[in-house]
Each structure stands twice: as C-alpha cells, then as structure tokens.
C-alpha cells in the first residue's frame, strides 16, 4: 500500500510535467493543471511515506526496466518514507503558493511552461532518489533533480546573474554527482552488484571504507552545501523563483542529507569513529560560518541561503555525534543523535521554506530583495509578517517552536559525550555543543536584524511603503507552514516517537525512553536526566500573558493610550534614513569576528555625481578567494599550457593520432 501511494506520487508528478503541454499558451489552464497535479503528488508522497514511517516496515519492488543486466530496484522504508514526507509537505505548500506567485512571470518574457514542467520533474527526481534501491536508479533520479534544478535556476535567463549562478550550480552538482558515482563504485566493486542489498553486504577494509566515505561526504556535501562546498548555494537561491528557492533549500538539501545517511548508516556498514569526528567538525564549521556569513548579507534571499548552510551544519553535528556514538557501541545515544538530526531536517524544511515563501511575497509586492530598501512592511502585509515572525522564531531555535526541539535534542546528545571512553572525544563534544549554542544565539541576532529591518520601523523606499498583502493562496501556504512549525514544536514527543522507527531500522535501537513520560513530556535519555514539556511551556506563556493582560487591561486600569510622535530628542522629525540599517546592526559582530570575512572597506571621495562622498563596504567569502578562484586560475593556466600542443597544423594532428594508436595497441596487445 505505501509503495503504491509512492508510485501514485511519481505518476502525478510526471503528469504534472506532461499534461500542461497540451494546453498550448493558455496560462490559466497550465497553472491550474500543473499545480493541482503537483499538490496531489505531494499529498500522495506524504501518505505513502507517512504510512511506511508509521509502520516501520520496508517495501521492495523490482521493475524489469533499466540496464540489460540491472533491473530497477525500488524500496520504501522508514528512512525514505520520512524524507518523502518532507518532500511532500513542501511540495503541497508550494502547489498552494505557486499559482498566485507565478502570476508575476506571466507578463514576463518567458513562457510559463518550462517553469511548471521542470518543477514537476524536480519533484519527480527527488522522489525517485528516495525510492531508489540501486545505484543506477539513484543516479538517474539524482541527475533528473540536478538538471531540472538547473533549468529552474536559469529560468529568467535574460539576467547575467542568473546564468552565472546556474552555471556554478550545474558545475558543482556534476562534480558532486561524479564523486557519488565513484563512492557507489567502491561499494559495488566490493559487493558485486549495484543494488543496495549487495552494496550493504560488501566487506570493506578500513582504507577502502575511508575512501568510499570521503567520496560520499564530499559528493553529498556539495549538494547539501557544507562549508567550503557551499558556494553555489548563495548564488543559486536568490535568483531562482521564490517557491523554487523554498523547495531547493527546504527539500533538495534534505535529499542530499538522505543520501548521506543512506550511504553511511545503511550501506557502509561499520562506522569508524574518526569519520564521525570529521562529520562533527565539518558540521560545526558549517553551522558557525554559515550563520556568520548570513549576518553580513543584506539581500534577503542570499541571507536565507547562508542560513541553509548553517542548518545543514546543525544536522551534520547531530549525524556526527550519532556516528561517534555508534562506533563506540552506544547505539542508544547514536539513536538520539540521529533522531536529533532527522528532526532538524524536518524542521529546517518547514521554517526555511516558510521564510523563502515570505521573501517571495515581499519580492512580489515590493520588488525589493535588498534589506536596505525595506522597512515597515508589517503595516502593508500583516499576515505575511506574522508568518515570517514565526519562521524567524523557529529558525532562531527559541521555545516553544520546532527549531528549539531539535537543537535541544542535539544538546542532549552532546551532553552524553562523557559516556565515551576517549577523553579527547569526551571533551571535544561539549565544545561542539558550545559552537552550537553560539550558532543559535547568532542566528537569533540575525533574525532580529531581518525582521526588525524588513518589517518594523519606517519604509526605506517608495515600493516598500506601497506594498500590499499578497494573494490569498500565498498567505494560506505560509499559514500552513507556520502552523506546522508550531505543531511540531508543541508535540515533539509524538514526532520523536515516530522518527525513532528510523534508528530502530538502521541501528537496531529506538528511543523508548523518550516517549515513556506520555505525550506531555519529552525525556530523551530519562526523566531524571532531562525533560521538556513543550505543551506546558505554551500553556504557561499563554496563562501568564492572560493573567498579566487581564490584570492590566486598560478598561480596568482606566489609563488611556495616546498616540504621539516618536521621541526625536527635540531636533525635528525623524526620517527613514535615521534608522539603524542591516549593515549597522551587524557591525559589532563584524568587528568582533573580523578575520572570518574578507572585508573591503574604504571611504569614497566626494565627486560631482556623488556629493558628500560615500562609504564602500564589501564582505566577500573566503571560500571563493582562497579555494575556488585558485582552482580556477590553476585550471586556466594548465589549459593554456595544454593549448601548446594545438598548433593548427594537420600533419602534427595526424602524428598525434598515430602515436595514440601505437600506444593503445601496445596497451592492449
């Protein structure tokens, strides 16, 4: 039954890609059919994946298609089911949000059709990756996802920025895909088969295991956006249409996390502790650098993209802890780390797509993506502001919303580090927890900046002042996600109980302790060790609020509320330019963590067209300057060297062919 539903999801996605082709140029029909079928695909995915997850069972299917010697293997187990639910949730919301959002593109120079076709293929590819049970099907789905992702990023290809971002994305995706292919190759070589059962049975030496692990970590890491492989993310997310950014950031990165979990926990077999340590360190670096780079951005969608790097880092911290515990024969704690990482994957999908949808609404209504031109949007767009605020609270890991629960679980896993025999690991893990704490606090600072600058205060441009609330479909989409953020924050016990089917399958141990206290209490290790009563927290806040509000209600107090001008120190009216800007807000942090960014700062002299001079500030990314530009230079230089053999003389070329032939003959014979 679950696998059938998953099939239906695939078919709906395919139909959503193909059926609108029959509509010709009628935008309305295209939109209706494509998004309706996309939504149905999402719903079927949620149903199928959810059933598999709840039942904790695996379903297998072999199709007689594919390569001549390799049938296509499909499976649906709790792990793929869980990620299928994530894909489904965001897809459904995107289908609700999309029709109103793409209205903007109808008048644009592009046809609508490519957008809907590749959105559907994108979802199809992700679902296929999750269902795949052999390397060939997996890579097929992976490439479908990557290439349709490219088509979506490059959709508005009249802009130079979009083309270059899409090219970087495509290039890095393919390097990543190559590495993943090689990683599967190592496993397939030892396991004598391309399907996952053979691969899981492969006996690897530590050396070959490490090679396979390193290839997988890099390959999936590029797609997930780990530091320093993250550079495509902040380029591609801002230029894609917002509902696509939401899906890329919320879901596609999770598919990469799925690939990594599947490869490491399921296929690779015995995990070595040093791999776990590497994952933990990379996770810490990604989390911290991601949030620090995000703080310096003033393009809203670019900022959110850097936050994806941060959150992927947090997920990898959980995975690293889980791997370290698993390699030290502590499966119960490994399960805790894995559950924390999976829970955060779900949460990140929800709040990050919520924030991207919010950014899309702002973009559509005010045509601004620069924080420096926003301000006061809460007046024109109160509903969007409310939902965006919930997203901000959730991503900043504040109780009682969902982001807090998963970070709390990660902290709990880290605090059990003393159970390890190695003292070095035991003292490194709490430091990782401190990094996580710093990350969370900086994220809160960053989202105070975002919300404060974009929605509060006075409008900094005419467009922001004129911004009106977005269409109902877009609001409903955001409302659903905001509600889910709250629900998954308030009922963590149920969620953890369901997710623990995954470690039960992968590690043989669930988290029986976590749900022992009933639905009200989340007790991951034991009631004495730590407990969190999320529903009680919400109830407590509401009760305290109600009490204070009723005690102090104006009618009882007989005190009036007058509206007056803001205090201007007696110097005359305040204007929008006197407010703190996003750059100013982040300045203390920029000064404290100075070496983290390549900062270009200078005062520009006064000129005729720029009276009063100006101040130039550019905060770059070290990864570009120290790694990618260097690689680019080396590649160009070696290409120039290699160009020497191209003399343009036909006789020389014939000689090359002759030598090559001789060489090949020598090799073969």
């Amino acid at each position: 039954m679950p696998l059938t539903l998953a099939w239906i999801a695939l078919l709906f996605a395919l139909a959503s890609a193909l059926l609108p082709l029959l509509c010709g140029n009628r935008n309305r029909a295209i939109k209706t059919i494509a998004f309706l079928l996309l939504g149905l695909a999402g719903l079927a995915g949620i149903a199928g994946g959810g059933l598999a997850l709840l039942q904790g069972a695996s379903y297998n299917l072999t199709l007689p298609v594919g390569l001549p010697w390799l049938h296509s293997h499909l499976h649906l187990d709790p792990l793929s089911g869980f990620f299928m639910v994530i894909v489904g949730l965001v897809t459904v919301v995107a289908a609700v949000y999309g029709p109103a959002y793409v209205r903007e593109y109808e008048q644009g120079p592009q046809f609508l059709l490519p957008l809907t076709i590749f959105t559907a293929l994108f979802v199809l590819g992700m679902d296929l990756v999750l269902l795949a049970a052999d390397a060939f099907t997996f890579m097929l789905g992976w490439e479908l996802m990557s290439i349709s992702g490219y088509m979506l990023v490059v959709y508005q290809h009249q802009h130079e920025r979009n083309r270059s971002a899409a090219f970087i994305y495509l290039l890095m995706s393919h390097v990543g895909a190559l590495l993943i292919l090689l990683a599967y190759g190592v496993l397939a070589g030892f396991g004598d088969g391309f399907d996952f059962t053979h691969m899981a049975a492969a006996q690897l030496s530590l050396g070959w295991g490490s090679v396979a692990f390193a290839l997988a970590l890099l390959g999936f890491g590029i797609k997930a956006g780990l530091v320093p492989l993250h550079v495509w993310l902040p380029e591609a997310h801002p230029v894609a249409p917002s509902h696509i950014s939401a899906m890329m950031s919320g879901v596609m990165l999770k598919v990469a996390v799925y690939g990594f979990i599947r490869f490491t926990f399921d296929l690779l077999g015995e995990v070595h502790w040093s791999w776990g340590l590497i994952v933990l360190l990379i996770g810490c670096a990604s989390a911290l650098l991601g949030v620090l780079y995000a703080l310096m951005q003033h393009d809203l969608k670019r900022l959110l993209a850097y936050h994806s790097v941060e959150n992927i880092g947090i997920i990898y911290i959980g995975l690293g802890l889980s791997m370290i515990f698993a390699s030290n024969d502590l499966p119960g704690l490994a399960a805790l780390g894995l559950v924390a990482a999976l829970y955060h994957s779900l949460n990140h999908a929800l709040f990050k797509s919520l924030l991207f949808f919010g950014a899309g609404a702002i973009l559509q209504q005010s045509h601004e993506h620069d924080l420096g031109k926003m301000g006061g949007l809460i007046r024109g767009m109160p509903v969007t502001a409310g939902c965006f605020l919930i997203g901000c609270i959730s991503i900043s890991a504040l109780p009682p919303f969902n982001g807090f629960v998963s970070e709390w679980l990660t902290f709990q896993a880290a605090l059990q580090g003393t159970a390890l025999k190695s003292g070095i690991l035991g003292s490194l893990i709490p430091v990782a927890a401190a990094v996580l704490a710093l990350t969370g606090a900086l994220a809160a600072a960053c989202f105070v900046k975002v919300f404060g600058v974009a929605f509060l205060g006075q409008a900094r441009s005419k467009q922001s002042l004129a911004a009106k609330e977005a269409a109902p479909g877009m609001l409903i989409g955001q409302g659903i996600l905001a509600l889910l953020c709250l629900v998954f924050g308030i009922f963590p016990t149920w969620t953890v109980g369901v997710i623990s089917n995954i470690p039960l399958m992968l590690l043989g141990v669930g988290l029986p302790e976590a749900t022992a206290g009933g639905w009200l209490w989340l007790t991951p290790v034991g009631a004495q060790t730590a407990s969190y009563g999320a529903p009680m927290v919400l109830l407590g806040i509401c009760l305290a609020w109600l009490f204070v509000y009723l005690r102090l209600h104006p009618r009882r107090r007989k005190t009036s509320v007058q509206v007056g001008a803001t205090w201007d120190c007696g110097f005359g009216p305040l204007n929008a330019r006197m407010q703190y800007t996003a750059t100013a807000f982040a300045m203390p942090i920029r000064r404290i963590f100075q070496p983290v960014w390549p900062i270009e700062e200078r005062i520009e002299p006064e000129t005729a067209e720029n009276p009063g001079g100006g101040r130039h500030l550019k905060v770059g990314d070290w990864a570009w300057q120290k790694i990618y530009l260097v690689i680019g230079r080396v590649l160009l230089a070696s290409a120039k060297r290699a160009a020497l053999i191209q003399g343009g003389n036909i006789r020389v070329y014939l000689a090359y062919s002759f030598v090559t032939l001789l060489f090949l003959l020598w090799v073969i014979v």
Binding site: L389, F411, G533, V537, R557, V561, A576, Y580, I592
Partner: protein, 314 residues
C-alpha cells in the same frame, strides 16, 4: 495538587521579591558610595506609579511594540516559575531544564530587541544591535557553565542537579569553581550591570537595555522594568542554588519551607552585596572591550569543563 499550588506561590514570591533585590543592590551601592540612596522598597513605588500612568505610543509603533512587554514579562515569569527557588521537587521544574531556561531568556530578548527596532529610531536599533551582540557571546558561556555542572551530576534538570549535589557527600569540584566564576561574569553581562551596561544611564553612547525600552511608557515600561528585575533575580537564584545549594527545602513541610525561604533570602542578600561592591569598584567598559570580558567567561567555563573531563571522570 499541593505541589502545583506551592509552585504558583513560589513563582509569585520570586516575581514579587524581584523588585526588592534590585532596590537592595541599589541601596547597598549608595551606602558604599556614601550617598543617602532610596530605600530598597523604592522599585515597588516606581512600578506601581508606572502602572497607574497613561501610555504614549509612537505613531510608528506596530502590534509587535504593544505585544512585546506582555510577552517579555510572561516568558520571564515562566522562566521564574521553573526555577527551584525555595523548594525542589515541585512539579513545574520538569517543564523545562536549564537549556530551556536559557531558551526562555533568548525568547524574551528576541522580542525585547524587536521592540527596540520597532519605532525606527537610531537609539532602539543601537540598543538591539548591542544587546544581540553581547548575548550571542554570553549564551555559549552560560551553556558551557551549565554543561559542566550537568555533566558532573549527569542531568540538565535543575531540581535533580540540586538534589544530586545535596544528597551526595560534599565534595569540592574544581570544575565548579571555574564554572561558578564564569557564570558570575556572564550574569553581569546578561542582566545589564556594570561593567557591561549601566542600568542607571541614559547617555546615548553607553546604554544598551535602556536604549531598547526608551520609547516605552506607563504599564508597558513597568512590565519591561519588572522583567529586567525578575531576570536579575532568576540569575541570582540560579547561582545561589546551584553553587551553594544548602538550605533549599527538600521536602514540602512548613518548617523546611521556612528554612528554605530564609536561606535563599540570605544568599540573595549576600549576592546583592557582592554585585554592589563589584559595581562600585569597577568602571563601565567600552563596548568593544566586552567581547574580551565574555571571552574570559567562556574560557573559564571551558576550563571548568576540561577539568571535569580530566580530573573528575572515573
């Protein structure tokens, strides 16, 4: 049911005792500086007067501005209600462990900072920016300190931490000394006291907390001020009960509770004097010196954690 009633009474005591602590610190400080000084009860008079006053709200203010005081106060009060104040073993302490407690403060601060940004003045933005910067450095240090303690007693639940320390035979843990010193430094930063912030200043270049609440008046201002006092109180109780746990009521008998109340009052009074002495003898720091101050706190907590791993495990 008994326990819940006691928990509510305890939370009330904490909330209504908080202004006295703030007044006490100020009184001791004035005496140390050979000034007359207002009586320790003055904060109550200030609050009740503010509650009776009319409110003026800026025309730029959004709903966030009007919501924030209530939210900040309720979240801080909720944080107070999960603290073991007079007794441990009350049902509320299971709602939140110490990480959630830090989360509560972060939530309150989030809305405080948003309220500062709301009316769109330079002061508010400046205060919010500084507050978020300082807190983002302070939060890891706090968590590091409580992690050190949590690893020693293998629990993050405040009540079980304290009861574990009381039940086990007394032992001087080196890690506790480091963590305690670190936590003291962080508390100064988090509650906005000298040398990090000056609660008495309205000088634009130095204020942090006051800058954020500059636009508030009437009951909104009262709630914000009260929440700040409550926060000081909660940090005081946290330090007092974690590092000097003796005296807290282990069972819910009237005698034990009375002893508990006297003990915590005494401990807080002493802590208040310590804070007043520190505030009198130190000068306010330049803002960009604060990271070094908090770095010191973090290093102390880190040393505590390392000494726990090296000296105390097994």
């Amino acid at each position: 049911m008994n326990g819940w009633a006691l928990a509510v009474i305890q939370a009330g005591l904490l909330a209504f005792g908080a202004p006295f602590l703030a007044g006490w610190v100020k009184w001791v400080k004035c005496k140390l500086q050979c000034r007359q000084g207002p009586s320790p009860w003055q904060p109550y008079r200030n609050l009740s007067k503010l509650f009776r006053k009319d409110i003026v709200i800026s025309e730029q203010a959004s709903p966030v501005f009007r919501m924030a005081p209530y939210l900040v106060f309720s979240v801080t009060a909720l944080a107070g209600s999960v603290m073991p104040f007079v007794a441990i073993g009350l049902p509320t302490s299971a709602i939140a462990d110490v990480i959630v407690l830090v989360g509560f403060f972060a939530l309150a601060r989030f809305f405080l900072a948003l309220a500062g940004m709301d009316v769109g003045t330079a002061f508010g933005g400046m205060g919010s920016s500084r507050e978020m910067t300082i807190s983002s450095l302070a939060e890891p240090a706090i968590l590091m300190a409580v992690f050190t303690l949590a690893m020693t007693v293998s629990s993050t639940n405040l009540a079980s931490m304290i009861s574990h320390l009381l039940v086990e035979p007394f032992q001087l843990y080196p890690s506790f000394i480091f963590a305690g010193m670190g936590l003291l430094l962080v508390t100064v930063a988090e509650t906005g006291r000298i040398p990090v912030d000056n609660p008495a200043t309205h000088l634009e270049l130095t204020m942090i907390h006051e800058a954020m609440i500059l636009e508030y008046s009437g009951r909104h201002l009262a709630l914000m001020e009260w929440a700040a006092m409550l926060k000081l109180m909660i940090y005081g109780v946290l330090i007092a009960n974690l590092f000097i746990p003796w005296g807290i009521a282990l069972e819910l008998t009237p005698l034990a509770l009375a002893i508990g109340l006297v003990a915590i009052t005494g401990k807080l009074a002493v802590l208040g004097v310590v804070l007043a002495v520190a505030e009198t003898s130190l000068a306010k720091m330049r803002f960009f010196r604060v990271p070094q101050f908090l770095g010191l706190a973090f290093i102390l907590c880190l040393l505590g954690m390392l000494s726990h791993v090296i000296l105390e495990v097994r």
